[in-house]
């Protein structure tokens, strides 16, 4: 195993990790502020990807496609919040699970109805295509590197938003004591809609960015949603910092597992079985990671008990 391959896989894990962060950040924010478990977050990811693929197909511009993904997901998020989600804040988790499960059915089947069952394709723009040579002589896809850059920039922006702006202060106050900030004259229902739309926009952005690497199809959001759940369970629900650390841990563990476990299995089970046993073990690696973290810290790495 060469150093080049190792670094390349490290970057792949990082890219996967920052994408998971975009999903997990919205989920954890929505849970932290509104106390809501939102299964439909994966559907917003899908909406972002479909909006991007449609606009890219019409205009040929990747940047416009990204803007469309952000706008469509944020609008869908705000609409869903106003129509359904705000009735769920005071309810128990079972009602929230069920209602957001119903939203998945509606949004997924609605998208299938509009766009059909065949996957759409979103092309990487020419100015981001091809490899770039990194210091040390590693050729790495320019697009994936850009995705890492966007993810890190969003993470930094979000940290600034939460820590340094008026909206951020309100969000943190909403997490701490929602009755009190309502009493202090903050329009809490508008704040909730805003936070939900913000989370949705992040999910939509992730969907569009990943859509150019994978295909855009109905049901693409749910596997990512579940990984994002694993991320925020590891990081601690409600913590943006936890979501960031958890996302990188999950991204790196998953990527490393897929590459190295088949190799590690080689001396144990022989060449014929190594690939299958290794990949089967790799598919459960992140869940083992999650179980280990929870045994040591039941509320996650940055969670408050």
């Amino acid at each position: 195993m060469s150093t080049v391959l190792l670094l390349e896989q490290l970057l792949n894990g990082l890219q996967f990790g920052v994408m998971l962060f975009l999903m997990a950040a919205g989920l954890t924010l929505i849970f932290g502020v509104m106390g809501l478990i939102n299964l439909a977050h994966g559907a917003l990811y899908m909406i972002g990807a479909f909006a991007a693929a449609t606009v890219a197909g019409l205009t040929g511009s990747f940047l416009l496609a990204l803007v469309a993904a952000l706008a469509a997901a944020a609008a869908a998020g705000a609409l869903i919040e106003l129509a359904v989600i705000r009735r769920l804040y005071g309810r128990d988790h079972l009602d929230q699970v069920l209602a957001t499960f119903a939203l998945i059915l509606i949004l997924s089947e609605g998208t299938r109805w509009l766009f059909g069952s065949f996957p759409l394709y979103l092309d990487v723009p020419p100015w981001l295509a091809g490899p770039v040579t990194l210091p040390g002589g590693i050729d790495y896809p320019r697009y994936r590197l850009a995705v890492i850059g966007v993810g890190l920039a969003v993470a930094a922006g979000l940290a600034w938003l939460i820590a340094g702006t008026r909206l951020g202060i309100r969000i943190r106050a909403g997490e701490a004591d929602r009755e009190m900030i309502a009493a202090l004259g903050v329009d809490i229902s508008r704040l909730y809609t805003l936070v939900f739309a913000l989370g949705a926009a992040l999910a939509g952005l992730a969907g569009a960015l990943v859509g150019a690497i994978q295909s855009v199809q109905v049901g693409m959001g749910e596997p990512v949603l579940i990984l994002a759940f694993v991320v925020i369970v590891i990081g601690g629900i409600g913590s943006i910092r936890g979501a960031f650390v958890g996302a990188l841990l999950v991204g790196l563990t998953d990527t490393a597992g897929r590459v190295f476990l088949p190799v590690l299995m080689l001396p144990l089970v022989g060449a014929q079985q190594a690939a299958t046993v290794g990949s089967a073990l790799a598919s459960v690696a992140i869940y083992v990671l999650m179980a280990l973290v929870l045994i040591v810290r039941p509320a996650g790495l940055y969670g408050r008990v």
């Binding site: 478990i37 359904v84 119903a102 459960v284 929870l294 039941p298």
Partner: protein, 329 residues
């Protein structure tokens, strides 16, 4: 999960009679497909009855019960696969089997064992953590089944002939239905006994006020773990029957959407109602068949109906029919 008041008893008897009467009528009218639909409803109801002990009485919102359902399915698939190919099982060189009672036993024991493991880890947390943990462990089983190629991987595993039960011809749709129905009634009777027992009352109390249960010397964690294990075992039994009905098992039984559907069955029928899952399963299978015949996009309508039930009609179908609110917090 109580048998409820007088009116709920009448509703329960009505549901039991309906589920029995439809296939008997279908047999008389010569419509075997309707018998298959009723069998499907009875099996899904059984899975829901299992989930209801954890979800309803215990207040444990498990989004990972597909793991137990699929595990039961794979218990059937793997044992029958080795029997039909006359190859020994990978462990201890045991032979496969085509006998339902043996398969059920393996499914129940396997379901209980995995539920004990998942429960021991997940029940350390509560609320939304518990939901996400059960979901994650369920997905872990799903991805494992997809990645493990020995038993069909993503494509699943087909069985040529339905497994046998002593004294019955299980290939006859009506006889297989009656067998499933008998299992369902026996398990519901067992659940009624469990929920009325000191254990069941303590479990319900642990849902309503864990601090008080602890104050009188109860152990909420242990109560919940036992409930989760029984729940997982019953759902695994249903999974074995479901796979036998289709003569096919695939990772889709383990998929988290299956967990969602099981919750839908319980909530549509009425959380913590003894016959709630029976009502929920009948409605779901009927909708699936009826709406699915009208449009390929019938799940949009299902989603809207679900939203309406959650937002406006809490208590589910049995709740709407039987009135009296059940202790549900």
């Amino acid at each position: 999960m109580t048998a409820g008041g007088g009116r709920e008893r009448i509703v329960n008897a009505g549901l039991a009679a309906l589920l029995l009467a439809v296939p008997l009528w279908a047999h008389w009218a010569g419509e075997p497909f309707t018998i298959t639909l009723a069998t499907r409803a009875a099996i899904l109801a059984l899975a829901g009855v299992g989930l209801n002990l954890a979800l309803g009485t215990g207040g444990l919102v498990s989004l990972g019960h597909a793991a137990f359902f699929g595990l039961g399915g794979y218990a059937m698939g793997i044992l029958a696969y080795h029997a039909q190919t006359v190859t020994p099982l990978p462990l201890w060189d045991l032979a496969g089997t085509r006998s339902m009672p043996v398969i059920w036993l393996v499914a129940v024991v396997g379901g209980a064992a995995v539920a004990a493991l998942v429960g021991a880890l997940s029940l350390r947390s509560s609320g939304v953590y518990f939901i996400m943990l059960t979901l994650a462990f369920g997905q872990m089983c799903f991805y494992f089944a997809v990645a493990w190629p020995a038993y069909g991987g993503e494509d699943g595993l087909s069985i040529w002939v339905r497994n046998g039960f002593p004294g019955l011809n299980t290939l006859d749709p009506l006889q297989f239905f009656l067998l499933v129905y008998a299992v369902l009634v026996a398990v519901i009777w067992m659940m009624a006994r469990i929920t009325a027992s000191p254990f069941g009352l303590a479990l319900a109390a642990a849902r309503q006020s864990p601090a008080r249960v602890e104050a009188v010397g109860g152990r909420p964690f242990r109560l919940r773990l036992v409930a989760f294990v029984i729940s997982g075992a019953v759902t695994a039994l249903a999974g074995a029957l479901f796979a036998d009905l289709n003569r096919f098992v695939s990772p889709s039984m383990l998929n988290w959407q299956t967990s969602g559907e099981l919750i839908v069955i319980v909530v549509l029928g009425g959380v913590a109602r003894l016959f709630g899952p029976v009502a929920g399963a009948i409605v779901l299978v009927a909708l699936e068949h009826w709406l699915g015949g009208i449009s390929d996009y019938w799940q949009i309508a299902l989603g809207v109906a679900l939203l309406a039930v959650v937002l406006f009609a809490r208590g589910g179908l049995v709740g709407a029919l039987a009135g009296r609110p059940v202790a549900h917090d």
